[in-house]
Amino acid sequence: MLMYAEGLKVYPRNVSKAYKVVLFLAIVCGIIAVFVHLLHGVNFPFLNPKGQIAYQERQLLIFTSLLSLVVVIPVFLMLFFIVTRYREGNKKARYEPDWDHSRVLEALWWGLPCVIILILAVVTWNTSHQLDPYKSISSSNKPITIEVVALQWKWLFIYPNEGIASVNSFDFPVNTPVNFQLTADAPMNSFWIPSLGSQIYAMPGMNTQLNLIANSIGSYNGSSANISGTGFAGMQFIAKATSQQDYNNWTKSLQDSSSVLNDTSYQSLAKPSSYVSASYYKLNDAYLYDKIVLKYMTPGNSFAN
């Protein structure tokens, strides 16, 4: 066997020369510097949450990442150690070509990940229930309901109790749970406000739900996270968390608005358009949302094919 191995073509391995290491480090440092520069001043909505749901989701992200490191760090350390120590050039290292199993070691790396996954499974089970998008948020403030319709290619927000509606921008009171009811009069979209937490699909003929809360006043960007046609990139909207007083004033001003949302004006609104600026309406049809959901259930509706 040995004779055979000696007859092998040996592939010259350029022993790590100093300049190579320096070059490598210089490139890495340069890249890191560019990233640091770019990261300066940008806002990570997920890492900088503005509501209770997003906050809990961030904590979960941190916990899970740290738990994963329990496996990842040993793997990287072992990889580095093994590859340096058992490289071909190092004749001092032990060589046991036929050593191919060890009950103890294998039990260890079947067992240890099992334990970690068990912990994570319990956490997953609990958080999936705690942070279920359908679960209403407990708060001393009474929740408000907003009905969301994904259109081609903009978002319509209907406030059935307040009798108002808006497009691509909506206001809601801070520290008050918001219960979103979602559907689409368009292909499937996903309703996402990263600063506030979870996203959920909005589908035609379907009603989904999402419960969010903002715990500080501010304007938060939202978008559609699922492709729904050519105008989909323009489906950005603003979610404005305001004080209760400002919110009351805002609803009042819309209730007095001259632009009215009813069946007819909805038909023209629903026509495909993109990068639409915000607009505000007085709602003249309390069942508009239900009609939009139900129109896909009604036979003979030409749009619904």
Partner: protein, 656 residues
């Protein structure tokens, strides 16, 4: 007469037209070259109609390499658009074209690059590894390849005639339904995958039977090389998963062509059913791709560590566990669809459980190197790159397996970065490692090491630059598939990602250079004894390149790593060998004709050319019936010829 097909289908925007004309000119030059030097007959006789799995494997690899270039061009366009389309600027292409580009990028890379390259490697290696002279069904194998090629032809034809799907690589309805997508794009997508998918299914069956029935005497299941196990698992997944794809696409096609309502928005159609079905195929699909890559690494690590694979039984158990579990996790692709907490939690936990056998494999690879003698050749470099990227991508995967975290990163660029980390770091690096490792077996010379190393470093640098920004962008709230965005703070990251993509292309250029240089300098890197790496498995016991029949004398297997054991005992020279005549299947052009007419059928359905649908379908069925009524035909290589070939090889070995 021509259904929906009018002259308008040939009209495109100027950029596309220029691309088309350039490609056509290139193709024309190629064809003239082939005819001028009378190569076409040679290709037909020696390659196109050949049933030798080694040659079919080479053809798979060639097609996959070409499609890799196409997919890379798409990737560059995506990066260019996103690096420039911010604020007032709307980039280089319009939204519709952009959506076609990323849809074709995904479809191309998964179905025609990753699948094609893996089928190529499997075809070339697997029969030799199990000590067989052929696959179980050689003609079926050729049909599979040509159907795969039919899919490739259709998807590329969509650039020239009509347009491609703009609904993403999985074409979720109702966006992909007639109401929102009346053109031919989605039909092209459906039918190229239908045709290629049937080819994949047939390949799956073929290799399962080959592994179960064609192994050399003495090779029990637990003595099979681990790559064979990985292929067995992967092909079982193909056989169970691809019928789901075919059925789902058929339903979507019926919706679009004859007006059924399986997945439409109204009339009781259920788009959520489509999303469930497509992922019931789609998740096993990613394991179909990664398992053979695991197999490749499990071959490479022991060879370049000069040591037996650590924990063979564990590795087999892990493979089988992953195979079974991969069917129980599909819902994690849409936690955000509004299923209840119980359902989400169940699928989240199942997903995490897959990381256990995967982790075991990583530890076993590490301990294969432990107390070994590691030679850091290019295949090993790819392996090390794989371990690092795959571990990081795996962590991102575990994060997203927690439903409540997924709610914040789903469909963001974080997700895009995650699956590229897994597929490039896992599947693509696996393919490159396997290609470099087995290249000398089929050509008789090794690839240039230095250029291979350069290619590796370009790839890994480009990969980091291209995908680390995407992880960051995802956390910044950037969703996938945006043809335009407003936040100027994102642009810098997109620019870096674009630079990364360019560096990856340089890596691919380096690999092409590596192949050319290696061919030119082949004399310096000849592999005389057929075993350049001190291999362990049977395929290294033959000469390089191996004869058509692989083994003149079918080997008898007594142990795992049979060839290693043989070498350890000392390669005694056998004397007085009595060679026997060997039957090899005769060339056949059935595969080509079936694929041509099946693709023509698909083309006619896409364009609603009714008469052609009927004619092409009838001809396809007739060819199949005609084929099935014929007996298998063999060419016989006489005992004398076998002896001559073997003696010539032996001489080469001695006088090297």
């Amino acid at each position: 007469m021509f259904g929906r097909l009018t002259l308008g289908a040939f009209v495109h925007d100027p950029i596309t037209e220029i691309t088309i004309i350039a490609t056509m000119l290139l193709a024309l030059v190629g064809v003239i070259f082939l005819f001028k030097f009378k190569l076409i007959g040679w290709l037909w006789k020696n390659w196109f109609t050949s049933l030798d799995p080694k040659k079919i494997g080479v053809m798979y690899l060639c097609v996959a390499a070409l499609m890799l270039l196409r997919g890379l061009a798409d990737a560059l366009l995506i990066r260019a658009q996103q690096a420039t389309s911010v604020g007032a600027s709307h980039g280089i292409v319009n939204a519709d074209t952009f959506q076609q580009i990323f849809s074709s990028h995904g479809t191309m890379m998964i179905f025609f690059v990753a699948m094609g390259a893996l089928f190529g490697i499997i075809n070339m290696i697997l029969p030799m590894q199990v000590g067989s002279r052929d696959v179980a069904f050689p003609l079926l194998n050729s049909i599979s390849f040509w159907l795969f090629f039919g899919g490739v032809a259709l998807i590329n034809m969509s650039i020239i005639v009509g347009s491609f799907s703009n609904a993403g690589w999985l074409a979720y309805p109702p966006l992909s339904e007639l109401a929102f997508n009346p053109g031919v794009g989605v039909d092209y997508w459906i039918w190229s995958l239908e045709i290629a998918g049937i080819g994949s299914l047939l390949t799956g069956i073929n290799f399962i039977v080959t592994i179960l029935k064609m192994r050399a005497p003495g090779m029990t299941l637990m003595k099979m090389p681990i790559f064979v196990w990985s292929v067995l698992c992967s092909m079982s997944l193909v056989t169970f998963a691809f019928p789901i794809l075919t059925a789902t696409l058929t339903m979507l096609a019926l919706d679009r062509t004859i007006g059924t309502h399986f997945f439409t928005a109204g009339f009781g159609g259920d788009a959520m059913m489509y999303i469930n079905l497509i992922w019931a195929w789609g998740h096993p699909e990613v394991y179909i791709l990664i398992l053979p890559a695991f197999g490749v690494f499990s071959e490479i690590v022991p060879v370049f560590s000069g040591k037996r694979l650590f924990g063979y039984k564990s590795m087999v158990v892990a493979l089988v566990a992953i195979t079974i579990l991969s069917f129980t996790v599909w819902l994690h692709h849409f936690f955000t669809m509004g299923a209840g907490a119980d359902v989400n939690a169940f699928f989240g936990i199942m997903t995490m459980i897959i990381s256990i056998p995967t982790g075991v494999k990583v530890f076993n690879w590490l301990f294969t190197m432990y107390r070994g003698r590691i030679r850091l050749t290019t295949p090993m470099m790819w392996f090390l790159g794989f371990i690092v990227t795959f571990t990081i991508g795996g962590v991102a995967g575990v994060l997203m397996a927690v439903p409540a975290i997924d709610f914040e990163v789903h469909n963001s660029l974080f997700l895009v970065a995650h699956f590229h980390t897994m597929i490039i770091g896992g599947v693509v690096f696996g393919i490159f490692a396997g290609f470099t490792y087995w290249f000398p077996k089929f050509t008789g010379f090794t690839l240039n090491e230095r250029l291979g190393r350069y290619a590796f470093w370009l790839w890994i640098t480009g990969f980091c630059l291209a995908f680390i920004p995407l992880y960051i962008l995802g956390l910044l709230g950037a969703t996938r598939r945006l043809d335009h965005y407003v936040d100027a703070g994102w642009q810098g990251f997109f620019v870096i990602a674009a630079i990364g993509a360019v560096i990856i292309c340089a890596g691919v250029g380096m690999q092409m250079l590596q192949i050319v240089v290696s061919i030119v300098q082949r004399k310096q890197n000849l592999v005389i004894d057929g075993d350049p790496w001190n291999g362990r498995t049977l395929e290294w016991s033959t000469v390089a390149p191996p004869p058509e029949y692989n083994y003149a004398i079918v080997p008898e297997v007594t142990e795992r790593d049979e060839f290693w054991v043989m070498k350890k005992k000392g390669l005694q020279k056998k004397t007085n060998i009595v060679y026997e005549a060997i039957d090899v299947p005769k060339n056949s052009s059935f595969g080509i004709f079936i694929a041509v007419f099946a693709s023509l059928f698909a083309f006619a359905v896409i364009w609603h050319i009714v008469w052609l649908v009927i004619v092409a379908l009838i001809i396809t069925i007739l060819i199949i019936i005609f084929m099935l009524t014929r007996d298998r035909e063999d060419d016989t290589i006489s005992a004398k010829e076998v002896e001559e070939i073997e003696l010539a090889a032996e001489k080469n070995r001695l006088y090297a």
